[in-house]
């Protein structure tokens, strides 16, 4: 039992160990290879890294709860883009003209409502049709992206509100606004997964669906709630990011679903559900962002970065499988 506890802790800690390794590697390698003079572990650099982790990080948190539940959501990138369009465009709608800067919370709410509603639609289809979430959200990924293009064609949707930009660029207590949102969401989702009946049931459903059904847990509604949560978080991620940038291209957010899944898997969440933690996902997000930044710092280009991240992902899953082998008695494949 002691061994198993240690193994469990080791696994949860693995992602943090990996992050430490990255920090050491890039600090040392940076001394020889870096083109810039600044140290890699410079405070401003690290704060920026956290801020840049936020858009995918917030989505990855939602992906964690959906994957723990035994589902997956491929439509988050499209929800991200559509919510951003709603956020920026609604601020220019004539009906809100008299509101002044009060249009900001209204637009935020509209964007968040959009994301939640799109997530709810995903969840409702998965629940009522019983079609696999992979297929349902693959379809809605295409569909929602189609809506983005229908809205404004190939044109970017832009609207820069300086009050909003100030808000997004603020650094209360040293951390960027986006970082605060990332940390806040991590805390709330951790609480939700570990402290509420809904969270524990989400684990149970992903772990052993039949046992959950036998125990009268209503699987469908729990799944739908989780899809609403990830939809909400995708919209929140968009709201935070585009408050600052003020312009969204119809292809923005493409592949975000895959980056989010990568972060979740690196964090040790089981693809089949039942096991995972948002804290580890947070680690996974940081690890990916560190790799990107670090490889850039030592002079690698984007293509190399993607190649390395891909290789590391496969290596991590291979290690995980080796650690989980049942021993010699298992059937050979």
């Amino acid at each position: 039992m002691q061994n198993e506890n240690t193994a469990r802790l080791l696994k949860q800690g693995a992602i943090w160990g990996f992050i430490v390794l990255e920090l050491i590697f890039f600090s040392v390698a940076g001394k020889f290879l870096s083109l810039s003079d600044g140290a890699f572990m410079d405070l401003d650099n690290m704060l920026l890294l956290l801020k840049q982790s936020a858009p995918i990080g917030i989505i990855a948190l939602g992906m964690t709860i959906v994957m723990i539940n035994g589902n997956i959501d491929l439509s988050v990138g499209a929800i991200f883009a559509l919510s951003a369009v709603i956020l920026l465009d609604s601020m220019t709608w004539p009906i809100f003209e008299g509101l002044g800067d009060w249009v900001i919370p209204v637009s935020w709410l509209l964007a968040l409502a959009t994301g939640t509603a799109l997530g709810a639609l995903n969840g409702l289809i998965v629940w009522k049709t019983g079609v696999d979430a992979f297929i349902v959200t693959l379809g809605s990924m295409l569909g929602y992206r189609g809506l983005v293009f229908m809205y404004n064609g190939e044109q970017p949707t832009s609207n820069l509100n300086w009050t909003l930009v100030d808000f997004a660029e603020a650094q209360p207590l040293g951390l960027h606004t986006a970082t605060w949102f990332l940390l806040g969401c991590t805390a709330v989702l951790w609480w939700l997964l570990n402290r509420t009946v809904h969270g524990r049931n989400a684990y149970a459903i992903g772990d052993n669906r039949e046992a959950a059904v036998n125990a009268s847990i209503r699987v469908g509604p729990h799944m739908m709630i989780n899809f609403m949560i990830i939809g909400f978080l995708a919209a929140l991620s968009a709201a935070v990011f585009y408050s600052e940038s003020g312009s969204v291209n119809p292809n923005d957010g493409s592949l975000y679903e895959l980056w989010a899944i990568t972060a979740v898997v690196l964090g040790g969440t089981k693809l089949t559900g039942g096991r995972g933690s948002v804290i580890s996902t947070f680690g996974g997000v940081i690890a990916i962002q560190l790799l990107r930044k670090g490889l850039g710092y030592i002079g690698a280009d984007t293509e190399t970065v993607n190649l390395v991240i891909g290789l590391i992902l496969i290596a991590v899953l291979y290690l995980d499988k080796q650690l989980n082998r049942k021993g010699k008695e298992e059937l050979r494949i």
């Binding site: 198993e4 809904h198 772990d207």
Partner: protein
């Protein structure tokens, strides 16, 4: 024990039919508070159906269920649990990544405001139940880290979250060690001391005689009698179980026996089976009889290279061999017709021909392409040889009857020219008419000089096809009976572990 008190649970005249089968035919049965009532029967006698009726999974077509003499209808397992009847499944139904406490109260987690889990209450209650069961682990332990025996304790603990009147154990010791069994029996005795009625389903005669107060025997869906444990013995129970005056004349004419085709010595595979030794000659059928989980299929999987043995030697044609993969096995002339036709034996959407030639399609080529002609030639040959009824080679295998599907699998392996053919549960899910046809086919194959190993859980089947019968109990090869020695009583006793001595 207390014969006067009214039964905790009583069934009266339960009839349950499935399309084409009368699974339960007017079964009446009761369990009193504080009593262990064992339920016995061969595979297919109706035990599982009865249990599912008791637990509210199936609704009976006729008859009534009474709890403390009050008529009840159990709509589903939760309803049954609420009324005080709990089923402990043979296959555990637990969420492995969650704590013991969460599993015990799965679906009924105590709540606080804002949908929060009331952990204090949860751990307190679950801890209390685990303590009552004398469990060595706490409520916060992750279930996946527990041994199978302790997982079973968690399952049992679930029964105690309500005021259970009757608890049904379905083959609870199937995967337990002897030491773990002792603990389980203590728990059961403790439950009875608290006035809970226990229905104990098992195949294992020794356990039943240690534990039970009364024994009821089911055969062919009907209740054949209830015996007081103290006043009966194993012979009487065995007779009641077999009952039928068997019209199974063992008209096996032993064919010409050739040389030893395959020989196994001291073969072991971890906990699955230990120190198994046997030989099969060309022209002979060796039957393996035993309960589900006795290790028979695992031996077959080892011989076919699917499972690595932990010790022992396999000789094929007198040569010691190492079989690392099914490819190795096929090259050595060993073929396996697996237990589960639809999951392991066939690709249901593919045509008869494609299924038949699957293992050798790489050799049936003309240049870089698969040769339809060569494939069809093989298909035609074995269709005629095995009398497979199919509209044509294009037919998807999924559309054939069970018997013909099985023949396709057998044909597939015969076409690989094996010396040793292992057939695991040859007639599972096959109707009676085709059964005898498959049996005749197996005899015929032996006559043609194949060494055949048949694994079966049905006694009539092993008796009617085998020259010799190996009886397995709990991973041990108890005895190999020759045709002259074998009797139904001795077989039942061998596979129930009677005379097994102490199993380590």
């Amino acid at each position: 024990m207390t014969t006067e008190s009214k039964p905790a649970l009583r069934l009266s005249g339960i009839v349950k039919t499935f399309p084409g089968v009368r699974a339960l035919d007017g079964v009446s049965f009761d369990v009193r508070p504080g009593e262990v009532h064992a339920l016995l029967g061969e595979n297919g006698a109706g035990k599982s159906t009865l249990m599912k009726v008791l637990a509210g999974i199936h609704q009976p077509n006729e008859g009534a269920i009474f709890i403390e003499e009050e008529k009840v209808v159990m709509r589903n397992p939760l309803d049954a649990k609420a009324k005080g009847v709990v089923l402990i499944h043979q296959e555990l139904s637990l969420a492995e990544e969650l704590s013991a406490a969460e599993n015990i109260y799965l679906g009924e987690l105590p709540r606080k405001s804002f949908g929060r889990v009331d952990w204090a209450t949860l751990y307190d209650r679950a801890g209390g139940i685990l303590k009552r069961l004398n469990c060595s682990f706490g409520p916060k332990t992750i279930v996946g880290d527990l041994s199978i025996a302790n997982k079973q304790m968690v399952e049992i603990a679930r029964a105690l979250t309500v005021d259970a009147k009757a608890v049904i154990f379905d083959e609870p010791t199937a995967s337990l060690t002897d030491a773990e069994k002792v603990v389980l029996f203590d728990v059961i005795r403790d439950l009875t001391a608290r006035g809970v009625g226990i229905v104990y389903i098992s195949h294992r005669m020794d356990e039943i005689f240690t534990l039970s107060d009364r024994i009821s025997v089911l055969r062919d869906g009907a209740h054949r009698g209830t015996l007081i444990t103290k006043e009966t013995d194993e012979d009487e129970v065995t007779k009641l179980m077999i009952g039928r005056s068997l019209d199974l004349t063992r008209n096996i004419v032993a064919g010409e026996l050739g040389p030893v085709a395959i020989e196994v010595q001291g073969l072991s595979c971890g906990k699955l089976y230990r120190d198994v030794g046997f030989e099969v000659r060309a022209g002979e059928v060796l039957g393996f009889y035993g309960l589900v989980g006795a290790g028979r299929t695992e031996i077959a999987e080892t011989l076919f290279g699917l499972r690595a043995p932990s010790a022992g030697e396999i000789r094929v044609d007198g040569q010691a061999v190492t079989i690392r993969s099914p490819g190795d096995a096929i090259r050595l002339g060993i073929s396996l017709v697996p237990e589960s036709r639809k999951e392991q034996g066939l690709i249901l959407g593919m045509s008869c021909k494609d299924n038949m030639t699957l293992p050798q399609v790489g050799d049936l080529t003309a240049g870089p392409f698969v040769s339809d002609g060569a494939e069809i030639a093989i298909f035609d040959q074995y269709r005629d040889k095995l009398a497979i009824k199919t509209p044509g080679w294009r037919q998807a295998v999924g559309n054939l009857s069970g018997g013909n599907q099985q023949k396709i699998v057998i044909g597939k392996w015969l076409s690989m020219q094996p010396k040793v053919l292992i057939v695991d549960e040859p007639t599972r899910g096959i109707d009676v008419g085709s059964k005898s046809e498959i049996h005749a086919l197996i005899r015929d194959l032996a006559k043609q000089g194949y060494a055949v190993i048949v694994i079966s859980s049905e006694m009539p089947e092993v008796l009617s096809v085998s020259d010799r019968i190996a009886a397995m109990y709990h991973g041990q090869l108890m005895r190999i009976f020759t045709a002259a020695e074998v009797s139904e009583d001795s077989l039942v006793q061998a596979i129930s572990g009677i005379g097994a001595g102490k199993v380590a």
